[in-house]
Every structure is written in structure tokens, then in C-alpha cells.
């Protein structure tokens, strides 16, 4: 069973629908016992970091996530779930979970493309990912594959060793990060068509081992 962490951060329905389509049993829950007894965890999120962290703490989910991470349960962070696993965020100056060392930054403004066109914020739409490391969860993903992004902040791990893939949007930012049994992506695999579904499927058979 895959536990989709429910902390009122929205967009849970899409993750659930995608897993159902793939025939993968899942439950959307904030029940601590259910999460800890699940085989793996998806940690989604849309919204603001400050509120998300407050909601997680209120429900006791920050500690559960930490425990799950420490015992080696495979965890997939999505969007905001790829940000608040770091130490802190510029958004609401939030102190975050610190599962991976680093911080979350706001895109610089103004932001310009290589052709010197003004880029909008949020970064919204389909973009590609340059995979700089191999990872079982990304098996079968091709350089031309694109994924759906919608965000104004991006994760910056303290070390490059945590960076698995990057994306260009005026700057090159880490769009897939990972450490041990935790992998997290800034884009929405559940809204990224076939390659996104492939990532979710891969995650569901991943044993949680990752050698940097």
C-alpha cells in the first residue's frame, strides 16, 4: 500500500487518480499508524511553505516523515513536497523538515531567457529535465521527455551530490533531488502524461536504495 500524505495541501486527487490508473493500491491519509505501516510514501503538495509546515506539525506528520525516512521507507516528494524536505524556505521564511540539507529559493526577478526574453513567474508549463545522475525511479526517462511544472520557488540542496536532474528556466535549477530512500521532484509526475506515469510506476517498485 502506498500512503499519499494528506495535509490539506491540495492536488491529492490527481496523484490518487494516477496511481489508480496504474493499478497501484494507495490510500490518502494523515493517520500516523497507517503511514508508518505503508510500504512507501508519496508526499505531494501545492500551496505555501509556511502553511504546509504548520499543517504538517499540527497533524504530527513532520515526525512521521522523519521516522519513515530514517527507517528507509521509499519516499517520493512532489512539488512543494520537494521543497519542504530541505532545511528552510524563503517562502514565508519557513523552517522546514531538514531531511536533505539545503534551502528553497524564489526565482530571481526579473528573469530572462537565453534570447533575452522576460520570463514569467510562476514557471508554469512543460519543461525538460537534464538527468545528471542515474536513478531507478527515472529508468526509461528520455532527455526529450517534458514534465509539468508550476512553481515560483525551487529547491537548492547544500551539496550537488543531492542533485539528480536540473531544468533550465532563465537559471539552471535542481528539479529532481534525492538522498538515500528519498527522491523528490519539482514537477508534477501525476500531471505529466506518459513519462510522469512512468516515474510513478518506477517509484512503486523502487527498493529505496540509491547510491550517489
Amino acid at each position: 500500500m502506498i500512503a499519499i500524505i494528506d495535509y490539506k495541501a491540495g492536488n491529492l486527487k490527481s496523484v490518487e487518480c494516477a496511481l489508480k490508473k496504474l493499478g497501484l493500491p494507495c490510500c490518502t491519509t494523515h493517520n500516523l499508524g497507517e503511514i508508518l505501516s505503508s510500504e512507501r510514501i508519496i508526499f505531494p503538495g501545492v500551496g505555501a511553505a509556511g502553511q504546509a509546515i504548520a499543517d504538517l506539525r499540527h497533524l504530527g506528520l513532520n515526525e512521521v516523515l522523519r521516522q519513515a525516512f530514517e527507517i528507509g521507507k521509499p519516499i517520493l516528494g512532489i512539488c512543494l513536497g520537494a521543497q519542504i524536505i530541505l532545511d528552510k524556505s524563503e517562502e514565508n521564511s519557513a523552517q522546514c523538515l531538514g531531511l536533505i540539507s539545503g534551502e528553497v529559493k524564489l526565482f530571481p526577478s526579473p528573469l530572462f531567457s537565453e534570447k533575452n526574453e522576460r520570463l514569467k513567474i510562476p514557471h508554469m508549463g512543460w519543461n525538460s529535465v537534464h538527468l545528471i545522475k542515474r536513478h531507478s525511479v527515472l529508468e526509461g526517462i528520455k532527455p526529450a521527455d517534458e514534465f509539468y511544472f508550476v512553481h515560483s520557488y525551487y529547491p537548492v540542496p547544500a551539496s550537488d551530490k543531492y542533485v539528480i536532474g536540473t531544468t533550465d528556466y532563465g537559471i539552471e535549477f535542481p528539479s529532481i533531488i534525492g538522498y538515500k530512500n528519498l527522491i523528490a521532484m519539482q514537477f508534477h509526475p501525476e500531471k505529466s502524461g506518459t513519462p510522469g506515469l512512468k516515474i510513478l510506476k518506477n517509484f512503486c517498485t523502487w527498493n529505496g536504495h540509491y547510491a550517489e
Binding site: S14, K120, M124, W126, G196
Partner: protein, 259 residues
């Protein structure tokens, strides 16, 4: 680099898709869930549903469509039409839509934008703008005015000022529909799209007037639009999404390749 998005728009009435020409004489042409899946599989980047149901049961019918669509397509989709309250927004988003779009309700009460952005995040809130070209005046210095009721009612609001206000209130995107161009198949209104998109820092979807791929190329190349909305040209089979994307790609527009 970000791709330009190609977005089919499905008008839905009583749970069925229609395509109106200038908002008149709508004809039912299919099941929204089936059409959405078809476009998803063809490579659409996003889908817009616009609920034009007049009856009071509109919400339940549309929410059912939203739920079924969410089970079938794995790209973002938005729902507009008849969204008047935060509760309307919540129902659509909980149903599985990525975004909701507000148009008339925002004109009547702009605070719905900030309330929606506060409750669900800016990325969920699309400001739909129906715009007509008008004489330059003190009230409409941009030469474009916001209209509602499918273009029948002028609001006295300047389109550019409204776009900026929408952004300030927390809209995450603008869907900009030229009522003058809508249904004409004579091309998007590039001057309007360029004016709005060049003066806000949120994405703008150009809407109204697509008759061929050249029109799409022009609006994406020359107007700073982030996405192009299409309807008839795909609904009636003039082009497939793949044909559109192949052609745009060969003419130097960055689009998402899905095959």
C-alpha cells in the same frame, strides 16, 4: 526551456461538449470525458473546460464531468464558467481540476481572486478576460474593454488595467479571449495579446480566432503568449494536435513533443 502550450477548449453544456460560434447557436458535439481523453492522447498540453450550462443543476453535472476527467487524463485541466464562490472553486479543485477560471464573478467582485488565491494558491486561479476593442477614452486608455455576458455587456473596465489588477490580486494566469476574433477563424488578436502579455508577469493564454496553424504560429511567435487556446480547428478535425505541433516545431516554436 519552457514549451508553448497548445490547449483545446471544450465548451460543456448539461454535461455535453458544444462549440459555439460567437457564443450563439451552440451545437452539441460530444462527450467531454471522451474528447478530453482523445486530446490527451493526441498530445494536448492542457485542457480547458468551459461550463455554459444555464440551469441550477449545473454544478453537480459539471463536478461529475470533472471527476471523470481526472480519472482519465494526466495533464492539467481547468474549469471555468459559473464559478461564483470559493465553494464553487473548492468543488472543482477537489474534483481533480488543476485550476479554476473566474471571469464575470471577478468583474462583479474582484476579491474572489484574492480569496481564491489565498485559499488554494495563485497557481489555481486563472483570470478569464473577455475583451473587445473600443475607442480610446479616459476609461479605456488601452483601447480594449472588458465585456461580460458573452460580449453583450460592456463593463467600462480597461482591459490592461484589469489584467494588472488581476495579477496584483493573485491570479496565477490569464486566459485572454478576444470577443472580436472569437469564432471568426481569422487569427488571434495579436496586438491585444501582446499588450496584455507584455505588461503582466504571469502566463497568458491567447484565445479566440484560431483558424489555421499559421494563426497559432503568429500568436505564439509575435505576441509573447505562453499558450494558445484552440477549439473548432481540432473539434471539427481540420487538424490533429500532432499536426499542429509538428508544424509549429518545424517553424521554430518550442512545443512539447509527445511521440
Amino acid at each position: 526551456m519552457l514549451s508553448k502550450r497548445i490547449i483545446p477548449c471544450l465548451d460543456v453544456r448539461n454535461g455535453k461538449t458544444t462549440k459555439g460560434i460567437k457564443f450563439k447557436e451552440n451545437v452539441d458535439i460530444g462527450d467531454p470525458v471522451e474528447m478530453a481523453r482523445f486530446y490527451y492522447e493526441e498530445g494536448a498540453d492542457e485542457i480547458v473546460f468551459y461550463d455554459i450550462t444555464a440551469s441550477s443543476e449545473r454544478r453537480d453535472i459539471m463536478i461529475d464531468v470533472v471527476r471523470r476527467v481526472a480519472e482519465e487524463i494526466f495533464i492539467p485541466f481547468s474549469v471555468g464558467g459559473g464559478i461564483r464562490t470559493i465553494e464553487d472553486m473548492r468543488a472543482v479543485l477537489l474534483g481533480g481540476a488543476e485550476k479554476v477560471s473566474v471571469n464575470t464573478a471577478a468583474v462583479k467582485d474582484p476579491e474572489i481572486i484574492s480569496a481564491g488565491a489565498g485559499a488554494f494558491g495563485s497557481q489555481c486561479i486563472v483570470l478569464g478576460m473577455d475583451v473587445k476593442k473600443v475607442e480610446l477614452s479616459e476609461k479605456t486608455p488601452s483601447g480594449y474593454e472588458i465585456v461580460i455576458h458573452g460580449g453583450r455587456t460592456y463593463t467600462g473596465i480597461d482591459a490592461l488595467a484589469w489584467a494588472k489588477k488581476g495579477e496584483d490580486l493573485g491570479a496565477g494566469e490569464i486566459c485572454l479571449n478576444s470577443i472580436d476574433a472569437d469564432g471568426t477563424k481569422q487569427g488571434y488578436e495579436i496586438a491585444l495579446t501582446s499588450l496584455i502579455s507584455g505588461n503582466v508577469n504571469i502566463p497568458v493564454i491567447a484565445s479566440g480566432g484560431a483558424g489555421n496553424i499559421n494563426h497559432m504560429h503568429d500568436v505564439l511567435k509575435y505576441s509573447k503568449a505562453d499558450a494558445a487556446l484552440i477549439a473548432s480547428i481540432v473539434h471539427y478535425g481540420t487538424y490533429t494536435i500532432k499536426q499542429i505541433k509538428d508544424e509549429l516545431h518545424s517553424r521554430g516554436i518550442k512545443v512539447r513533443n509527445t511521440w
